[in-house]
């Protein structure tokens, strides 16, 4: 339990905040190495084509060019995050024989400066034989469609099924069945820092890569594999990262090209993408077509649900298999479904690959599920919040063979958000153009499923303590801007009873920090790395406790406390030493052997999905201009259960960021595409809400304690991105009568929906 309220649950500004907001923090693109070359990529101008011939002679001859590579020059080892299923590994760093999306990497150049590298790319001659392009899941799965990957006829790369309960009986006993199709669109992660990597050759044919990534360990393993090197020959270092949101959780072609060309030329090589490239060719959230059928009794009890999803995966699997898996899981969350069937199909199309993105299948699944709950509530004549309370999951609920809910504050969230938003009164009040709506979420706190097939623990930590009263925390946990470095420092400080400022932190350097950590995704870091830190800290405490017993000749019945930079007998605070003195004495007793401990966490016996689940409910109030269709979100109310928040300020930041991202997803962000080409490749035309579009909000954290989490904590950074779109869609419906079933909710759709535009 929390024995240190000054640290756990406090609202603490991050140690790196000042440097970040004043521009002092160093990111990969800020780094220069002596002799460094600049890389550029040549990408396919066609969405689907066979490569007939590549001639790089003119590029090679250009003054200042030091290396030019094409697929044939590389070891051609396929890679992908799902190492557990080798046939899912469908990517090559540079295309061989075939390109599958407009932007597929075909060749790379390293030159003395960036302009020369880019000019050299233009001098590479590639002859293509164009193949039919497939741009929708319907076209890709149609009879006789062209095949994008030879080993996936029909262009479905993966089927995922979940089934439990008696579906047929469930629908039979339903008094009311809804059967709807929803479509959701792709959106960009739009992290502030475009991708950047520098590789430098190291002694003995080794290589070091500084890269903007969420997964240094995964990059290390896959880079070593694709280079044909032992894992230990590759060192990956993650400096400051300016956001990822799931878009930086794989090995990327430029990481390979930088390392490969660094080894070939003996010089460091840097690649940095720009925003246009990020938007045109970067990973994105899966567009999906969701067919959902749900049965209810007349008093609102859900009887069964049949959930069919087609995921538009783009040209490669990327993190699609996980999204396919999780989408089905999220379709079964929040409510008690006595019978449930899910079929998710991941479909290849000739578009930039979709990957992991904040919510990882949940924003899509929950837009459909939550919209459908709102639609059902209207038809059943039950208040939408009441309908949710009737069906809400509770602590101890089980999804057969999939998950057990060890803490759940969902009902409390619903009750609280109803009260704080003034729901009952505002819902009844019918003034044209004004509306109020609700959406809910549940999310995972890290994944249980070992798709990367790591031999190591999922999260680890090494703690060293010193006689000057300080500690050193080493972890491969990957802070990409969410503040996990600070959170882990807090957890260690609370456990050892020392100040946060006493903790030196070394993170995310695969040659230095303990093996392993799967990185930042799926809201896993606080729970998993936090548990690993506690494990290591407890081992350190075991080394220090005997010192106090010997020093003060304590009776065995005493317990030892770690608080306020002191170690002392709990019942006799006078009998104690400063933390530093205690380390000093322990060091003497160990005849100089440093006090170092390793901690680890791997979820075991926690089902198939996640060790813990967060829950929450959100209410949106909107005003719709019924002549222009413009929607203004007036206010957001959120009540959520993230267990015990470690850093309240961090949790609030995540909530605000989630609403911002949810707002863009709901109202304006969208890729405009034509024949596989992304047309809006800058922030003028790819519309992300600005700070000025952010509505005011109120939020409440529901008091729960997650037994599996460090100090009772669980996920707070990702689940909240899901409820915003369905809440806004419902509020727009309440305001205008228009029901959006195909995101985003744009002004023309609103006007068409209310019959004011053809």
């Amino acid at each position: 339990m929390n024995n240190n309220p000054a640290i756990i649950g406090a609202s603490l500004p991050r140690l790196d905040a000042r440097d970040k907001v004043t521009g002092r923090s160093i990111y990969v693109d800020d780094m220069m190495l002596p002799g460094m070359l600049y890389g550029a990529l040549l990408r396919s101008p066609l969405p689907h084509a066979r490569i007939k011939r590549i001639d790089v002679s003119k590029a090679r001859a250009l003054k200042g060019v030091k290396d030019v590579i094409v697929g044939a020059d590389t070891p051609q080892i396929r890679y992908g995050n799902w190492r557990l299923v080798p046939q899912s590994q469908d990517e090559l760093p540079l295309a061989v024989d075939k390109v599958r999306f407009l932007g597929d990497e075909v060749a790379a150049v390293a030159a003395l400066d960036k302009e020369t590298a880019e000019r050299a790319c233009q001098l590479i001659e590639v002859e293509y034989e164009e193949l039919p392009g497939l741009f929708t899941v319907e076209d890709a799965t149609a009879e006789g469609a062209a095949i994008i990957h030879d080993d996936s006829p029909g262009n479905v790369s993966l089927n995922r099924k979940i089934t439990y309960g008696d579906l047929e009986a469930g629908f039979k006993r339903a008094d009311y069945v809804r059967d709807d199709v929803f479509t959701v669109h792709a959106v960009s992660h739009a992290y502030m820092e475009p991708c950047s990597s520098i590789a430098a050759p190291d002694e003995g044919g080794r290589v070091t890569l500084w890269t903007s990534t969420q997964v240094p360990y995964i990059v290390q393993c896959l880079l070593a594999a694709t280079l044909g090197l032992p894992e230990n020959h590759v060192r990956v270092i993650k400096p400051n990262v300016g956001g990822g949101f799931g878009g930086k959780m794989e090995l990327r072609p430029w990481e390979f090209c930088a390392a490969f060309m660094a080894l070939r030329t003996g010089r460091p090589v840097k690649f940095t993408l720009n925003r246009e490239q990020e938007l045109a060719f970067g990973r994105r959230r899966h567009a999906m077509t969701i067919h959902s059928k749900v049965g209810f009794t007349k008093d609102g009890k859900i009887t069964a649900k049949d959930f069919n999803v087609l995921l538009d995966g783009g040209a490669y699997n990327s993190m699609g298999p996980t999204a396919t898996f999780l989408c089905g899981n999220f379709g079964a969350m929040l409510y008690r479904y006595p019978a449930y069937r899910y079929l998710g199909r991941h479909v290849y199309t000739n578009k930039p690959p979709a990957g992991a993105m904040r919510g990882f299948g949940a924003p899509q699944a929950l837009f459909a599920a939550e919209s459908q709950m709102n639609m059902a509530a209207a038809e059943l004549g039950i208040d939408p919040i009441e309908l949710r309370i009737i069906n809400a999951m509770e602590t101890g609920d089980e999804i057969p063979e999939v998950a057990t809910i060890s803490s759940c504050g969902f009902k409390e969230s619903l009750v609280k958000v109803r009260e704080m938003s003034g729901w009952d009164a505002k819902r009844k009040e019918k003034s044209p153009g004004r509306g109020i709506g609700v959406g809910c979420y549940s999310f995972i706190s890290g994944g249980v499923f070992n798709w990367f097939n790591t031999k190591y623990n999922f999260a680890t930590a090494e703690v060293r303590v010193f006689e000057d009263g300080t500690a050193h925390l080493l972890t491969m946990a990957t802070d990409i801007g969410q503040g996990s470095d600070h959170t882990l420092r807090q957890i260690l400080a609370a456990e050892l009873g020392i100040g946060i400022e006493k903790i030196r932190l070394t993170a995310a350097d695969t040659a230095v920090t303990p093996k392993a950590d799967l990185g930042t995704w799926g809201s896993r870091v606080t729970l998993m790395s936090g548990n690993a830190v506690i494990d290591a800290a407890r081992k350190i405490k075991e080394m220090l406790i005997p010192v106090i017993f010997s020093q003060f000749d304590l009776n065995q019945i005493h317990d030892v406390a770690f608080e306020g930079d002191r170690v002392f007998a709990k019942a006799r605070p006078d009998k104690g030493l400063t933390f530093g003195e205690c380390v000093y004495k322990a060091l003497r007793g160990r005849r100089g052997e440093p006090l170092t401990a390793f901690g680890a966490y791997t979820p075991r016996n926690r089902g198939l999905v996640s060790p813990a689940f967060s829950f929450g409910a959100q209410v949106a109030e909107v005003e719709v201009d019924q002549e222009t269709g413009l929607i203004k979100v007036q206010k957001m109310y959120t009540a959520h259960d993230c267990g015990v928040p470690i850093n309240k300020m961090g949790v609030e930041g995540q909530l605000e960021g989630s609403i911002h991202m949810g707002l863009g997803y709901a109202l304006m962000e969208d890729f405009v595409m034509k024949d596989g080409r992304t047309l809006n490749t800058n922030f003028l035309d790819y519309k992300i809400p600005t700070a000025q579009d952010m509505p005011p909000g109120e939020s409440v954290e529901i008091d729960t304690y997650e037994p599996e989490g460090p100090f009772g904590a669980k996920e707070a950074g990702e689940g909240l991105v899901s409820p915003t779109a369905p809440a806004i869609a419902e509020a727009v419906h309440h305001a205008t009568g228009y029901r959006c079933m195909d995101l985003p909710i744009t002004p023309p759709k609103v006007l068409k929906g209310i019959g004011k535009l053809k």
């Binding site: 302009e115 003028l684 035309d685 519309k687 809400p689 600005t690 002004p747 023309p748 006007l751």
Partner: protein, 294 residues
Amino acid sequence: MAMPHFTLHQPSSLEEALDLMSRHRASMKVLAGGTDLVPKMRAGAIQVEHLISLNRLPGMNRISYLDDDGLVIGCGARLSEVGANAEVRRYYPALAHACSVMATTQIRNMGTVAGNLVNAAPSADTAAPLLAYKASVVLVERGGRRQVPLEKFFEGPGKCAIEHLELLEAIRVPVPLDRSGSCYERLSARSQVDIAGVGVAGFLALDMEGKILAARLALAAVAPTPVRCAECEALLTGHEPSPDLIARAAAAAVRSARPIDDVRATAGYRRAMVHVLAKRVLETCLSQAQGGAR
């Protein structure tokens, strides 16, 4: 792409600027705020060896208003300065509003009204209000000056009546009439930091009896150039204002729009929005005019 190499000239007089333009005519561009030009150079869309900056020309950032003469905006006057100018806000509220809401704070602090016009984007925010105010531009070259009504200035997307060796020296806007009102409304997906998907500017003046003496309506982002709505204006002029008249005028405004489908909006939505905004703009203009303020 990185910035290509170029020479920056910073003349300290108009004559010097015109001489430099002539001397480097083969590969020369004039730089005011640079907010359109520099991104184009970075993107490699423009190759240029000599940039001739107007930023050190004396008096180029003037914003002066005289009751007899109207408003003069120098070619160096920043959008933010024009938007904040007390007389512009008082006598030309549509222009002040356009200058205050377009683009971003940083762009408004560097970009100029003159540059916004010479860039000749169909969506230029300052163009519609200036058309509604019947503004002209003063173009100067080594041989002399000419004044061109803004109506005749725009020729197509990115194209205007300025000759290669001409500079847009200033913008002249006539004194608004008594019993007049004006306003500019724009629609964009974001509330701020955005380009106009549709923009409508209007100006109405009433005679002593309350009939419409002069009416002007201008549209942005719905045709190859910013345009005036002749049919709408003719319908209004000389008539007693009424809700019905305004509704008919707003419908007529749509017929002056020639919108396209693009990444920002469909033609159909743009047309519908011209109708909605034209009605709102005319209503606001009328109520200002009837309030007696000018």
